[in-house]
Every structure is written in structure tokens, then in C-alpha cells.
Symmetry: C2
Subunit: 192 residues, 2 copies
Amino acid sequence: MSVLSEVLASNAAYAEDFGDKGELALPPARGFAILTCMDARLDPAKYAGLAEGDAHVIRNAGGRASDDAIRSLVISYKLLGTKEWFVIHHSNCGMEFFTDDVIRGLLASSLETAALGDDGFYDVGTGPGAREGDYIDWLTITDQADSVTEDVRRIKAHPLVPAGIGVYGYIYDVTTGRLVEVPAATEAGRAG
Amino acid sequence: MSVLSEVLASNAAYAEDFGDKGELALPPARGFAILTCMDARLDPAKYAGLAEGDAHVIRNAGGRASDDAIRSLVISYKLLGTKEWFVIHHSNCGMEFFTDDVIRGLLASSLETAALGDDGFYDVGTGPGAREGDYIDWLTITDQADSVTEDVRRIKAHPLVPAGIGVYGYIYDVTTGRLVEVPAATEAGRAG
């Protein structure tokens, strides 16, 4: 079965058993938001105990506090009333395994998927590539605790974020499923 | 119990019953990605039938093909091998209920949450506000079928996206849990 058929079949089963979820209100019932990575191994609803209707979930490569994540967070509190936010990066994140220079070079040489070799280097591939990757900040990560702390700081310092919002910084351990606190982020994220 | 304590308690229970999920590989096992809205009522793992490890999930306000979503999608295929992408907006989305001018005005007058009155207008609130909202494109939505189609088109036309990637456009109906196809997006999203 194709991916599309599989997704639609799963969706039909979900809708069949939808219960009273059609009556949920638009604003998150539990008043918080989670910013986390797109990584396939992470299921924030499961790892943080969310039912449908509970909380906003924002996800991108790395779980970074990008301009677009800030856009989403501001809408989350300003129009939909969230008051606490989690920034959750994770161990073994793909964003640790390359730099801006690496991905720009790979995209310039080929648009096809670059396999990661046993030697820890990506296949360069053969064209056609494109140089547009040079204009993107890929928001790669060197150290997870640092990236969580920087992102919490960026959010707290943003002129559109009121001081009263508490921001919590955690790292999700993909080998255990546990959330591990980042103390420097906790310090930076305190509600004022 | 506070939100933080609740999340940590739920996480401890999840980790307790983690099974062999610690051995999942980094690249998505089913080779696809979903771009959808941060809305609390949406659980993409549930509505599309994803287990941990299956697929990348990217979420922002509206599920829009923002520059940051494009960054994430390019990493998703270029380094982690996904070949099919879903763009899934939804009915009753908060992004339909305001315009750039409205949210810029609200943020300029106050940073606190603006309640939506019975008259369909947001409370203006009292200061301090900030004008930084003027520099953000809020990516609001007028019509869901149009926004899905535009976003699929933008992704397909992006110079870093190879023609071979198929992009599917759907609207999730929050009253039924069903994914409804957007035919114009299907047309625009075909793999070349």
C-alpha cells in the first residue's frame, strides 16, 4: 500500500472512533505550548501526556526558536492565551551532524538525498544542485544544552513576549524517553 | 498540580513503558513528512496513524510553508531521505480570524492576551505594547483550500526541492477528524 493510502486508511479509522472530540474548543485547554524537533522518534503528545485540545505543539528541524517559531508562540499567547512554554531539543539530533557549510555544499552539488557513509561523511552526489542553500541559516546545533538555553533566552528577550510567561528548557533522551532539565535554561526562562 | 509537574509525571510514565523504542533509527522509517498546524485539537500521530520513528512532523501557526518549514523539509529529504510530504491545514483555524493589521494593532496596544468577545472582536487591552509585530508576516489564512494549494505550490516551486517529491494537500476537519483532499493542491503537488 502507498504511504498516501496508508495515511488515509489510518485517518478513516481515527475518524470512525472520534467520539466527542468535535466539540473541543480552539484555545488550548491546559494553556501551554511545546516547541520541539520534527524528529520522527519524538511524539510530544505521548512523551508529555497531551490529549487532543490540551496544548499547542510547534515543531521544526531542531526545535529551534526560529523567527517562525516566535510567530507561532506570539499567536499562541496573544490570541489563544497560553502562559507557559516548553523548549525541548533531544539527544542524537540530526542537526548536530552537519554545519551550514556542509549542507550548502551538498545542496550545491546535488538535490538528491545524501547518504551518510560509515566514515561519518555524506555522499556529495552529482548534479543538478542549487546555491539557494547559501541564503538559509540552517540553525544547526553544536551542543544540546547550549541550544536549549540560547533558544529560551532568545524567546524571553523577544520584545513581543511578556515577562510573565515562563519558559522551560528540556532535552528529550531518545534512548530512554525521558525529559532531562537544562538548568541554565530554567534560570533564563523564569517568569518575571 | 502545575503544568510542569503534570508534564514531568506524564513523561515519567511514558519512559517507564518505553520498550525498545530507544533503538529506533534517526531517519523516518516510512520516508515521509507532515507539515500541519500547531492547533491543540490536532494530533498528527493519531489522525495519520504514526508510530514513533515513522515520519517527520513540522508544525507552526497555520501549518504554513514558511521559510522555516522549507528549511525543515529540505533537511528532511536531503539528509534524512523523505520522499513524500503532506501539507495539512484545518477547519476552524485561528489564522482565519485575524489579519496582519489586526494582530499588529493588538500587539502595539498591549502584550497581554486579547480575549475574543461575543461580537467577534478582540479586546484591545491597555499597554505596554510593542510595534515589532509590524515586521512579522503573520501568514494568516482567508480560505483553507487556497492556503493549502498556495503552500503546496510554493514548496513544489522552491529551487531546493527536487521534482521527484510528491506533495499532498489536505484539510483536517476538526468536527469529524477526517482528512479532506484539496484537488487543486493534488494537481500542483504531483511528483515530476
